[in-house]
Amino acid sequence: MTKLKILHVEDDLDIQEIAKLSLETIGGFEVLQCASGKQALAEVLEFAPDLFLLDMMMPEMSGDEVLKNLRELPGLQDTPAIFMTARAQRKEIVDLKSLGAIEVILKPFDPMTLPDQIKTAVSMAQK
């Protein structure tokens, strides 16, 4: 079975590093990390991910804007997306899911269980 390829967009480099350890070492995924939406848009096509993992609150381009821009690119219309956000309001979660997200993971996340959360969300979405 090939590794799930995840595009992770997160502006905080410490969190990037923790997530990298979690996703690669514990989850066994293949991960491309970008610090901004701009960088992600530039590198995404070459990487061809199976999943977007997007932080919501980022300067310049927020997570939902990044998703909208990614969807404009060829072949990325149906790539599943997961948002990570510190905002826990139910309405915001509903809004994000309506943008096409298969899951919303709340911060602070638990790096030990993050890979399982992602696997569960992906398999639920495939059903």
Binding site: I15, A88, K107
Partner: protein
């Protein structure tokens, strides 16, 4: 000279005539005498007679004309009495103060009928507070002197009547005082006018805008200084304007017309509300407006509108919201890193740790958890306080939620060797609530109960229902809450005693959140506790949908009395 002997002339008349004729005649006589010396003798006689005759005729004519013969003494007195009765409030009393006579004006002014007044003591009309003034004035008049002063009386409907009053004694035979007569001038209106003037002046000092306008024409009758400043009008110009003009000029609201205004004011007109509150937003400020319909007893109805600039308050609320949002992001981001990094290290993902290092990192990890909880709790409390927490109230089986919460807290309780015992959880129990929030409440109460239980203790969770309420209680048999701490147990950052803080951990915010969550769902929470016997927290929620959670923000009706 028949004119002189006419009986129509009084002595005074003749006296006045003489006074006029003598000085008129004298120079003529003198000049005549002088002329006899120079002019011919024959011309003197006819000229003198002619002059005197003309003078007499003029005197008589002018005097008769001006005096017009006047009314008789009786007529004069009658006229005076009529004028007095039209102008004055008059009463007479006997020597004991019992009313023996009132004029029509007295009846009109006080609202009593004559029958209700005659035979009553005058004190019927006097407020208690002026008893001392009355007794003094009465005593003074009974000594035979006349008293004057300002008096306040109470009319039949309790209305204040102010009057300039003169009270004179009525004297019987031998000069004995047998009663009083009081003549009063009603000054109530000028008092009110003066009061109105003072009040209107005071209203100019207010920072709130005050507008008064007629109910039928919607034309302004009063604007205080702040209102004039806001509209750019002055004392002269605002009287030409109506409410509709104002909306059109200041807000460019061409769609606003009289009907739109009356639609808004409908609850006031129909008497359903005493006051309407709404928000008006224009290009430069946000204003909170309160509108009332005033129906004076003695004048046409008018609207009173008070506008307050709440732009600053709005800006403050906005910055507060932004601040909370920033905290939620800015604090959680580093906590995410700390907690995540420690979790990974502790799991051994980065290599083996010595026991000592593991212990130290474990402390750091646990405290990063606690920090997360505190941040979440503070944000929850802020959201509840600001009315921003969403409640999704629906009919649910509360027994299921309680069982879920028990399952979620079981691992924690087992670590403390505490077990949960459920009572009444077997049957379907309908409840109107937000299932997530009830879970949050139960989570808090269950973890508290486990935390404060003795080792190998039990926690009893009971669900029961009464007519229209569901009651859930969580009882532990642990150390209990000391009496002195009970009053403040729902306050923020309160725990029974500070040593617990380290021993049991927790934010001290849990119970205040629980209380707020219960209350926002239309329920109530209470507890009983005894030291070393345990504590029992119970909350009640409605099992019928009757909870108005969110108030409308644009229009708030204040219910009529």
């Amino acid at each position: 000279m028949g004119l002189y002997s006419s009986k129509e002339f009084s002595i005074g008349y003749r006296y006045a005539l003489a006074l006029i004729i003598v000085p008129l005649a004298s120079p003529v006589v003198v000049s005549g005498v002088q002329k006899t010396l120079t002019i011919s003798h024959t011309s003197l006689g006819p000229i003198l007679i002619l002059l005197l005759t003309v003078a007499y005729a003029w005197c008589i004519w002018s005097i008769r004309n001006s005096a017009n013969f006047g009314p008789s003494e009786e007529e004069k007195i009658a006229y005076q009495i009529k004028a007095l009765n039209d102008h004055s409030i008059i009463n007479m009393t006997d020597e004991h103060g019992v009313i023996t006579y009132v004029n029509d004006k007295f009846i009109q002014t006080t609202g009593y009928s004559r029958d209700e007044l005659i035979g009553q003591n005058l004190t019927l009309l006097l407020p208690k507070s002026i008893a001392a003034q009355y007794n003094f004035a009465r005593g003074y008049v009974l000594t035979g002197k006349t008293w004057s002063g300002e008096v306040r009386m109470k009319g039949k409907d309790g209305q204040n009547i102010w009057a300039h009053t003169t009270v004179a004694p009525r004297l019987g035979k031998k000069g004995k005082v047998i009663g009083t007569i009081a003549i009063q001038t009603d000054t109530t209106q000028s008092k009110i006018d003066a009061h109105d003037r003072t009040m209107r002046k005071s209203m100019h000092l207010l920072r709130d805008e005050v507008y008064m306008f007629e109910a039928d024409t919607l034309r302004y009758i009063y604007l205080n200084q702040a209102a004039m400043d806001h509209c750019g009008w002055n004392e002269k110009t605002y009287r030409q304007k109506t409410v509709v003009d104002k909306r059109r000029e200041l807000l460019n609201d061409e769609a606003f017309d009289r009907d739109a205004f009356y639609d808004r004011a409908r609850p006031l007109i129909d008497g359903e509300a005493k006051e309407i509150e709404f928000i008006l937003e224009d290009y430069k400020q946000v204003r909170e407006v309160k509108l009332q319909l005033i129906r004076p007893v003695d004048g046409p109805p008018h609207f009173l509108s008070i506008g307050r600039d709440i732009s600053e308050r709005r800006a403050f609320e906005k910055s507060k919201d932004e601040f909370i949002s920033t905290i939620s992001h800015e604090l959680r981001t580093p906590v995410t890193s700390i907690k995540g990094a420690l979790g990974l290290v502790l799991s051994g993902a980065t290599g083996e740790l010595s026991d000592k290092t593991h212990n130290m990192l474990d402390i750091a990890h646990r405290n990063s958890d606690r920090l997360t909880l505190i941040i979440n709790d503070i944000l929850d409390l802020e959201k509840i306080a600001a009315g921003k927490m969403e409640f999704n109230i629906e009919s649910v089986n509360i027994a299921e939620i309680i069982k879920d919460a028990i399952a979620a807290n079981k691992p924690y309780a087992e670590r403390l060797n505490v077990s949960f015992v459920g009572i009444g959880l077997g049957k379907h129990t309908e409840c109107f609530c937000d299932s997530d929030r009830v879970f949050q409440i139960m989570n808090n109460l269950l973890s508290n109960a486990a935390k404060f239980s003795k080792k190998d203790g039990e926690v009893a969770v009971t669900l029961s229902s009464r007519d229209d309420t569901i009651c859930v209680s969580v009882e532990d048999f642990g150390k209990g809450i000391p009496k002195e701490a009970q009053a403040s147990i729902f306050d923020r950052f309160t725990q029974a005693d500070s040593s617990d803080h380290r021993e049991k951990s927790g934010t001290g915010l849990g119970l205040s959140i629980v209380k707020a969550l219960v209350e926002r769902q239309g329920g109530s929470i209470y507890f009983t506790s005894e030291v070393d016997k345990g504590s029992k927290f119970s909350f009640e929620l409605p099992n019928k949908d009757k909870t108005p959670i969110n108030k409308p923000t644009t229009m708030l009706m204040v219910a009529a009395e």
